[in-house]
């Protein structure tokens, strides 16, 4: 197992119900319980509208659960905190700030002395492979580079957990695969806990220690598939028999979840 046994995130019987703009009541999440260990990479996968993004936002304190509790390092999550770094589907960079100043943003918001923390931001840009692009503006960066900047920004306040909401879905297939390799490398260097929402079975298979398969609305956990792939993983992992086997198992769980097997 990639886990060391220490639990970082605990989700206890979380339900989320809300009203959509037309007034219909939506049961987005039903009875979600899950615990995530330190340094673990967990992928949340499921069909559109299964509430995986909602769950991620609840984990990060951007949404409140209707009932149930989320604990982070033993403390109940009451709102956004600096122990959580978000990476969204799009990079959401501020166009008027250079890559470096985008990475500095979370630190500035926390009232850090910009000059004192600049070396740290530069080191993070180096970590994500953007050395030499510190003073480029977002529109001068490719989509993949923008998302790298967003990852560096999410790491800026040294969070315990990185929450990633389909972070590579806006990228083309080749860049996406490259970013997956990069993320593994970054995880290897930072040992951050990562919770990743994805639509891609291959991405979930390749990156995760555990894949949480969710069923359609109301979203519930249909299955949790433990990865059998050894680390470190690289391009060769993608063509290994073990990878294909695991991918097929996850696909089956997804199908079972979809047909209401749970």
């Amino acid at each position: 197992m990639g886990r060391d046994g220490k639990t970082l995130v605990e989700v206890e019987s979380v339900h989320k119900v809300y009203r959509d703009p037309s007034g219909r009541i939506l049961h987005a999440l039903a009875d979600i319980s899950l615990s995530i260990g330190r340094k673990e990479v967990v992928a949340l996968i499921g069909p559109s509208g299964c509430g995986k993004t909602t769950l991620l936002r609840i984990l990060g304190g951007l949404l409140r659960p209707s009932t149930g509790v989320v604990r982070l390092g033993g403390q109940p999550v009451a709102g956004p905190s600096k122990s959580v770094g978000f990476v969204f589907q799009e990079a959401v960079l501020l166009e008027w700030r250079s890559a470096l100043r985008n990475v500095l943003l979370p630190l500035e918001v926390r009232g850090a002395d910009v000059r004192a923390v600049t070396p740290r931001a530069q080191a993070l840009l180096r970590l994500v492979g953007l050395e030499g692009f510190e003073h480029h503006y977002p529109h001068q960066l490719s989509g993949g580079m923008q998302q790298r900047t967003a990852i560096a920004r999410a790491l800026a306040q040294d969070p315990d957990v990185l929450l990633m909401d389909e972070p590579f879905s806006a990228l083309d297939a080749m860049t996406r695969e490259q970013m997956n390799l990069e993320l593994l490398r970054i995880h290897g260097e930072t040992r951050k806990t990562i919770v990743l929402v994805t639509h891609s079975i291959a991405e979930a298979t390749f990156l995760a220690d555990r894949v949480v398969v969710m069923s359609p609305r109301p979203g519930r956990i249909a299955a949790v598939v433990e990865s059998t792939l050894p680390r470190p993983r690289d391009e060769r992992t993608l063509v290994s028999a073990e990878f294909l086997d695991l991918e097929a198992r996850i696909r089956r769980s997804l199908e079972q979840g979809r047909t209401g097997g749970g």
């Binding site: 951007l62 956004p80 905190s81 978000f86 969204f88 799009e90 959401v92 501020l94 008027w96 529109h139």
Partner: protein, 288 residues
């Protein structure tokens, strides 16, 4: 050119572009950028001169450009032009600053507070339907023939474009960015200074460009109606005496003044919005 040397990529690209006629040489670029507009000007002035020469219009109908130029030099030497230009400049700039500032301030207030918006926006829209120029005689009665009345008229005209653009700018901030700031536990003040205001700034500048031109119009119209100095007053007074040459001198000065203010704003915009360099599309001038 017999030396068979591998060409640099730069040279290859230049050759290729030249062969396809895509990029003209730097010399030709300079010609097209500078000389062509100058050529238009020369043709226009010579045509004008020739027309008056052939048709023998008297100076009180259409003076020749050379006559206008001579008078322009004359009024500049005596200082007559400067005193009037100074009056108009002061009115325009003061009115522009006050009106634009109020527009931005109230625009920000409205976009902050839904209650405030409900309370005053219908009246703001209604007030926009009143042509400000139609208010000018009233403003002259209230504020007199001096500087103040012209400043008020210019400010009234500048107010609305900035108000509309500021509100539009703040509203167009993507929700994703607000959510990002929320995930960083930013305070409302930080959301404003780090996200909302910078996103709004291109809209504010678009409004400033529009209102800078309108401010000149406001000042001039105010001077037409009642003033003791200014380029508008000069046109009006010269017109009454059929001194058409002086009217042309004043018109020329107004044009230069308006352009100077407009380009000053563009200069400031370039400094403030350096990050937009290379972006093809900024917000268009929304209030026109």
């Amino acid at each position: 050119m017999a030396v068979d040397r591998p060409l640099s990529l730069e040279a290859l690209a230049a050759l290729d572009e030249a062969a396809e006629g895509r990029r003209p040489s730097p010399a030709r670029q300079a010609v097209t950028r500078v000389l062509l507009p100058v050529l238009t000007f020369v043709v226009f002035v010579v045509g004008w001169e020739a027309l008056v020469y052939v048709a023998r219009y008297p100076d009180y109908i259409l003076p020749r450009p050379t006559v206008v130029a001579a008078r322009l030099a004359d009024t500049m030497r005596t200082g007559l032009l400067w005193s009037h230009a100074w009056a108009t400049l002061a009115e325009t700039v003061l009115g522009f600053v006050i009106g634009s500032g109020a527009g931005v301030a109230i625009g920000l207030a409205i976009s902050r507070s839904a209650v405030l918006e409900r309370m005053i926006s219908p009246y703001l829209v209604a007030s926009q339907a009143v042509p400000k120029i139609a208010l000018a005689p009233l403003v002259i009665i209230w504020f007199g023939f001096g500087l103040a009345s012209k400043v008020v008229i210019a400010a009234l005209i500048c107010f609305f474009p900035l108000l509309v653009n500021t509100v539009t700018g703040i509203r167009s901030v993507p929700r994703k960015k607000i959510e990002l700031m929320r995930s960083l536990s930013a305070t409302p003040a930080q959301v404003f200074t780090k996200v909302e205001w910078p996103s709004c700034l291109p809209y504010v500048f678009a409004g400033l460009k529009v209102s800078s031109v309108l401010a000149v119009v406001g000042a001039i119209v105010g001077e037409y109606i009642g003033a003791r100095a200014g380029l508008g007053y000069l046109i009006n007074a010269s017109g009454a005496g059929l001194d058409v040459v002086m009217m042309f001198v004043a018109l020329f000065a107004i044009t230069v003044l308006g352009m100077a203010i407009y380009f000053a704003i563009i200069l400031v915009e370039r400094r403030c919005l350096r990050w937009t360099a290379g972006l093809t599309q900024g917000p268009s001038d929304l209030a026109g």
